[in-house]
Symmetry: C2
Amino acid sequence: MTVLHPRLLQDIPRSLDAEQFDMLLQRPNLRIERIVSTGHASDETFWHDQVEHEWVIVLSGRAKLRYQSDGTEVELGPGDAAFIPARTRHRVAWTTPDEPTVWLAIFWTEA
Amino acid sequence: MTVLHPRLLQDIPRSLDAEQFDMLLQRPNLRIERIVSTGHASDETFWHDQVEHEWVIVLSGRAKLRYQSDGTEVELGPGDAAFIPARTRHRVAWTTPDEPTVWLAIFWTEA
């Protein structure tokens, strides 16, 4: 009846060629992903420009998000979360190379 | 432009008279809450029976969820998550008294 997602904070890879995306839940208007970064960042010229709203929390590690509109950068550590409205162009400017950065990201659309 | 929720895993109260609910984000069809339990459980006779879908992850501590339909009980530790479809009657059967249990819960409706 229910779907369990066990041990999302264990057995985290420490080194990855590319960021790892694990789809935890996909529903008609919502999806939940775990993302693991090990020093990765978005390409310098790339901006995420999503039709979905996003709420993301860093569970371990450290990261910096940059917003295109005003160039601001926010640093997120464990337990820090950000709401990124749809069509807010942003990129991952940096993730720490010292340990894996584990993100939990919720994406959804509004009717 | 964006809303930040800092330090959701820090300064967690260790003893509470009642469970603590912090609304992190409220949108037309979605809300995100942090819940802190310190040994709390649902009343013995109470069942959550929600019109919203729920996805919940335990970030620290331990908890047991019980489902009414078949009486099954699942234990959740750090990093364990469960998807609880709308109208799935359930209760929190137990949370550890040894440390705070920090939940992150996403509730949403589907069109």
